[in-house]
């Protein structure tokens, strides 16, 4: 009754040459080993090792980008080796337009994080460097794996260094925050492990993602497995109501931890949905679409209102992430090319603008050892350059045109309205029609555009404008050269993506096209059968021409 669609975009061809992706993934850990062997007294040595290692990884990342074929509609640069033959596990890494932007973000952000940590981390630099480098391997591995077991291993590897980074270098309530973070994420991923093992059994002993997408699963099976996968990813994103670990983790984490957490780790949640949950269980995605849409919209508005209520700048930025990731989720749930491209770009944008915001908050925290909004006021007078960068990044965060944030939001909303306008009026077998749900939900989501401006500008005003009320703020020094250089790097990307998003959209264009082709009909079949028939006819007409 249900037609199945082959997920050909997940196919790959082992190239047999130099295992570039494996190198990319292993390089940070190699440097972590070097750091481990060098005695720990010299902070400077470890700074050099970690920065050097991350820069070398960045170089390999650039090499990967060079080798990457932008028009290919399948996975590329695959390394495929037998790994644990006894259980049929293979070491399979490959890359496509879904992972490439995030891989590049990761390799770019890590050196930035090390530079940002220069003075923010004031103890145990050696251990910090090791943790951060292993974390980079974990993130890259999760992004590159196309074998469920490899993915799961890396997914769990990420947890431990982040657990330590928050727990050792964090703020006052770091233990509470890090335990919460660890248990919450662990809980989600254990269910996913069960689901993976179930699939492994069904497939007769294979963890290959491509192989698993070819399984024939009954509808209840799909639903249960999807739920298990989705829960792990939704917690990571985080989607309302699974978000409460985030403000705690962000607030207590040291600046470098927050940057990585917001920059890359949250996006692994949305990435996981796209890479695994949706292609494995498209029909279930169709079934859960209304629920996910509602949660995404709630996240947008609720996150914004919560951000408005915060008195701690970092907590405010953390809640703003809930709102921003809500936009990304909206794009994913809609699942047409426009919205998906917007969602992918918005993931990147969030990494840039929120990463920059966390660094900025860190700068002033190092000077004043507080992040309470009420402790500031009028500091634009003392720190004009800092204020200029902060306002600039704020504009990116609230999606002013010609900054990066605009392009992503514009495409997500554009795609959502397209979906709603063309959806059928009549609901299949009663209930709320998909059309009403999409148009209504998206209309509510547009409130996020205003609320974003409200909470960000209110915070900026209370921190930077007005008279200086606290004598402690009179002596604040403006940004140093290192800090300015860091922020300028972010500013360049904000403007670049805003003015010329072409190269960034191009990275994922072919993959998105190839990914939508099989998955969208499968989703539509369940969530909007009339639209499925219509799009089928359109596709046939196009093919006939």
């Amino acid at each position: 009754m249900e037609t199945t669609f082959a997920q050909t975009w997940l196919q790959f061809q082992s190239h047999g040459g130099f295992p570039l992706l494996t190198l990319l993934c292993a390089l940070p850990t190699l440097f972590a080993l070097v750091a481990l062997m060098v005695p720990g007294e010299h902070g400077a040595v470890h700074k050099a090792i970690s920065l050097g290692g991350s820069l070398l990884t960045l170089l390999v990342g650039v090499l990967v980008y060079q080798q990457f074929n932008l028009s290919s509609q399948t996975m590329q640069l695959a390394d495929d080796f037998a790994w644990i033959p006894g259980i049929g596990a293979r070491w399979t890494l490959a890359i496509d337009g879904l992972s490439l932007p995030l891989v590049l973000l990761t390799v770019c952000l890590t050196p930035i994080v090390f530079i940002g940590a220069w003075s923010a981390i004031d103890k145990r630099w050696k251990e910090f460097a090791i943790a951060m480098l292993i974390l980079e391997t974990g993130m890259l591995g999760s992004l590159l794996a196309v074998d469920m077991l490899v993915f799961y291993v890396f997914w769990e590897i990420m947890l431990i260094p982040m657990y330590l980074i928050i727990g050792i270098w964090g703020g006052r309530d770091r233990i509470y925050a890090t335990v919460k973070f660890f248990l919450y994420t662990m809980f989600g991923s254990l269910l996913m492990l069960v689901a993976i093992l179930y699939l492994y059994g069904k497939a007769g002993g294979s963890f290959s993602l491509l192989r698993l997408t070819q399984l024939h699963l009954s509808t209840p099976e799909q639903s249960w497995l999807f739920a298990a996968f989705a829960l792990a990813f939704l917690i990571k994103v985080p989607v309302f109501p699974f978000h409460t670990w985030l403000p705690d983790a962000h607030t207590e984490a040291p600046t470098p931890g927050s940057v990585v957490l917001a920059g890359v780790m949250l996006k692994l949640g949305t990435y996981g949905l796209l890479r695994f949950a949706i292609p494995l269980f498209p029909a279930a995605m169709g079934k859960f679409s209304p629920l996910l849409l509602i949660l995404a919209v709630i996240g947008i508005v609720f996150g914004a209102l919560m951000a408005y209520m915060q008195t701690d700048v970092k907590r405010l930025v953390a809640y703003s992430s809930v709102s921003h990731l809500g936009f990304v989720m909206l794009g994913i749930v809609i699942f047409n090319e426009e919205a998906l491209q917007g969602a992918l770009l918005q993931g990147l944008n969030h990494g840039i603008s929120t990463g920059a915001l966390f660094l900025l908050v860190g700068f002033v925290y190092e000077r004043r050892h507080t992040r309470e909004i009420s402790e500031f006021g009028g500091i634009a007078k003392r720190m004009p350059v800092y204020a200029a960068f902060f306002v600039f990044i704020t504009m990116s965060s609230i999606a002013l045109p010609l900054t990066n944030g605009f392009v992503g939001e514009f495409l997500i909303f554009g795609g959502s309205f397209k979906e709603g306008v063309h959806a059928a009026f009549v609901p299949p077998g009663g209930g709320m029609p998909w059309r009403t749900l999409v148009l209504g939900g998206t209309a509510v989501a547009t409130l996020g555009i205003v609320l974003g401006a409200v909470y960000m500008l209110s915070m900026v005003r209370r921190v930077f404008f007005g008279p200086i009320t606290k004598p402690e703020n009179e002596g604040l020094a403006d940004l140093t050269f290192r800090e300015r250089a860091l922020m300028s790097a972010f500013a360049v990307f904000v403007i670049w993506i805003g003015v010329m998003p072409g190269p960034f959209l191009k990275m994922s264009e072919a993959t998105v096209h190839a990914m939508v082709a099989p998955s969208r009909p499968a989703i539509l079949q369940v969530r909007a059968p009339i639209d499925y028939q219509r799009e089928l006819k359109q596709a046939e007409a196009q093919a006939a021409r």
């Binding site: 495409l411 909303f413 306008v421 404008f465 007005g466």
Partner: protein
């Protein structure tokens, strides 16, 4: 035009980029520049843009000799491409953009010039010029954008720049708040605008290029033939226009925007930003003209805004506040015009208003600067003697805005009022456009009534009924034109009154402030003086380009805009008999004269007790006007306070308790509690374990057997 060896199209990006360049230079390196360098960079970039704009304008005139619909286009690159959606980074200079270009860069340059004397002792001058240049850049993006997405760049850009400029003196929290208010209120309008863009994208095939949209909406088969949908899109666009062009209910940011330096007000309120909404509606005339219902809403909101703001202006005592409400009111007139289908008249009023309002604001700036930042007109008076140049230019602008002939404001305001009653939508043509939609509706209705699908006669009858109903509903809208006309006439009366009240109180009679200030009062220095003189001259002659009988029936301004507004004109038609036109003209003059006369009676002949007596007699009315009808207080009570309360409640109840405690930490605590229970069993006493084992084995045995 043989003067060009290259196409003027190539000038368009240069016009836009020059102010951006100036803004970047002053913004990044301004602190190291001398004051003169900052002035020079800031002003010359805009002057250069102005000169290039004149070249574009002349080039367009030349090109129109061979092709009446000529326009210059410059496509830089594909900006955003995803799926079916595609937006180019592209510029369009047609007749409408060319007019706007000259106004924006011309008035913009004069404002830059006069700023050099207004801000002569401000340490943040480089930052200020950077913002000012970015503002002009955004406005140029807005008027030169070739599609709605490009227009939206400028649209939000001016909002962001106004945020920076209004809050320029950020050490004062009120000013920072005013800046934020401008941004947020504009953002509310922007939501309507972007949603309209998304709907247009979805319906019109993934492009919001003006050329392709116009083609789409000239042919119902290609775009939307469902009248309510078009009305909805128009209304959403208008929400955006309400934000930018300060219409009810989103006008509240504009009076507060007076917190910025006065030349900024001249820029925001005369040539840029506030004109954006009117410009956008005129640009989208081909769409708005398709929905007489939406147009009527537009017209009535404009009329209400015009009279509402004018009435507040009657009693304000801050020189800038009077001008601010006058701006809101004049924008109301422009919105009446575009809502009535008099698109050309609306742009014409925008054009003349730019001159006299910029002149008024710069004059007010000169007064405030001359009196050491005094803004209360009750503490002014007699400044005629100290500031002859400012006095003369201010007076000219007052006459112009009051609408007395032959100054600029007369022609444009009269055109608006006359065309409001003269025009009417062509219901037959509209019905023809919507034919497909009517047919579908008829099918649906006939089907629902149980008739057979093949019963074409029934369907045809139903279609006729729907069509007739539509035409009638369009014709019933006519009454609103008369209401709008009456409101506009009242607002015109008030305008003449409050502007001359302002003039008399400021410049004539006896000085009412302290003498130290009076001794130091001075006329405008040359940069500002020359700007004032040029603007005053334009306030006199600016209206002549649109003189209705200048060359028989030939109106240069209208004729010039014809290619852009053709579709709108085709759908909204009507003409007045010359006798009626003359009559209306006389009525306008009469009304304006009455306003001026009352102002002279009350304020022009020395100290009078009458205004105070009137104020006491009508105390509640006076207080309501003085306090701006308590609208800000109303919004505070109805929007801001509830938003905070709801957010707080959601945070404390939903986020902290329901989600975090009950869903996340609760199970954790429960687990800890359970393990405590479990620990009770782990006593370490072997006897207890033994008893447990025996009981267990017995139970198992009993169960198994």
């Amino acid at each position: 035009m043989t003067a060009f060896s290259f196409s003027p199209s190539a000038l368009l990006p240069i016009i836009v980029l020059l102010p951006l360049l100036g803004g970047i230079l002053n913004g990044l390196f301004g602190k190291r520049f001398s004051r003169q360098t900052v002035y020079a960079i800031g002003s010359t970039t805009v002057l250069a843009s102005f000169l290039l704009s004149v070249m574009v304008f002349q080039g367009l005139r030349g090109a129109m000799v061979t092709d009446p619909n000529a326009a210059f286009r410059f496509e830089a690159y594909h900006w955003i491409v995803a799926g079916n959606y595609s937006f180019d980074f592209a510029f369009l200079a047609d007749q409408l953009s060319a007019v706007m270009l000259r106004v924006v860069t011309g008035v913009g340059f004069l404002v830059h010039l006069s700023t050099t004397s207004y801000m002569d002792d401000d340490p943040g001058i480089a930052r200020y010029f950077a913002y000012l240049n970015l503002f002009v850049f955004s406005m140029l993006m807005l008027v030169l954008g070739k599609n709605l997405a490009m227009l939206f760049i400028g649209w939000e850009g001016v909002g962001a720049c106004s945020y920076l400029l209004i809050g320029f003196w950020f050490k004062d929290m009120d000013k920072a708040e005013a800046g934020q208010k401008a941004f947020v209120v504009n953002r509310i309008g922007d939501i309507g605008f972007v949603v309209a863009i998304f709907l247009l994208l979805a319906y019109a095939g993934g492009s919001v290029d003006f050329d392709s949209l116009r083609a789409h909406f000239s042919d119902s088969a290609r775009a939307i033939d469902h009248a309510p949908t078009i009305t909805l899109i128009c209304l959403l666009l208008f929400v955006g226009a309400c934000g930018k062009s300060a219409q009810i209910p989103l006008y509240v940011w504009l009076p507060d925007a007076m917190a910025g330096p006065t030349p900024v007000s001249a820029l925001i309120h005369a040539a840029t930003m506030v004109t954006a909404g009117v410009y956008m509606i005129a640009r989208m005339n081909f769409l708005f003209a398709l929905s007489p219902h939406a147009m009527t809403v537009v017209m009535m909101v404009g009329a209400l805004t015009a009279i509402f703001a004018a009435s507040i202006g009657l009693v304000q005592n801050d020189i800038k506040k009077v001008l601010a409400y006058s701006t809101v009111s004049q924008l109301g007139f422009m919105v009446i015009a575009v809502g009535a289908g008099a698109f050309a008249a609306g742009i014409f009023h925008l054009f003349t208003h730019a001159f006299f309002k910029a002149c008024l604001f710069l004059g007010a700036g000169a007064v405030i600067h001359g009196l050491h930042h005094e803004q209360d007109i009750r503490k002014m008076g007699g400044l005629k003697k100290k500031m002859p140049l400012v006095n003369a230019t201010f007076l000219i602008s007052c006459i112009a805005i009051a609408g007395l002939p032959p100054l600029a404001g007369f022609f444009s305001k009269d055109a608006i009022l006359a065309e409001t009653v003269a025009l009417k939508p062509d219901a037959e043509k509209l019905a023809a456009y919507y034919e497909g939609g009517f047919k579908r509706q008829a099918f649906a209705e006939a089907g629902a009534a149980g008739g057979e699908a093949a019963d074409m006669a029934k369907v045809a009858a139903a279609e006729q009924g729907i069509k007739k109903h539509y035409i009638e509903s369009v014709e019933h809208l006519g009454i609103w034109r008369k209401v709008a006309f009456a409101l506009g006439l009242c607002a015109a009366l008030m305008t003449a009154f409050y502007m001359f009240r302002l003039y008399f109180l400021t410049f004539t009679g006896e000085y009412r402030g302290d003498h130290h200030t009076w001794d130091h009062a001075h006329d405008a220095p040359w940069p500002m003086g020359s700007a004032l003189a040029i603007l005053a001259a334009l306030s006199v002659v600016g209206g002549w380009v649109g003189m209705p009988f200048a060359h028989g029936h030939y109106n240069f301004f209208y004729h010039w805009l014809e290619p852009v507004l053709a579709r709108g004109k085709e759908l909204v038609e009507g003409e007045l008999a010359p006798s009626v036109e003359y009559g209306l003209m006389g009525l306008s003059v009469l009304v304006a004269s009455i306003g001026v006369f009352i102002a002279w009676q009350l304020y022009g002949r020395g100290v009078s007790e009458v205004p105070a007596r009137i104020a006491t007699t009508f105390r509640p009315v006076y207080n309501a006007l003085l306090n701006k009808y308590y609208v800000d207080e109303f919004y505070h009570a109805v929007v801001i306070t509830p938003l905070r309360a709801v957010s707080r409640a959601l945070f404390q109840v939903v986020d902290r308790v329901l989600v975090d405690l009950a869903m996340v930490r609760g199970p954790g605590y429960a687990l800890v509690g359970l393990s405590h229970l479990g620990r009770l069993a782990q006593t370490g006493e072997v006897q207890a374990y033994l008893i447990g084992t025996v009981v267990g084995v017995a139970a198992l045995a009993w169960y198994l057997i």
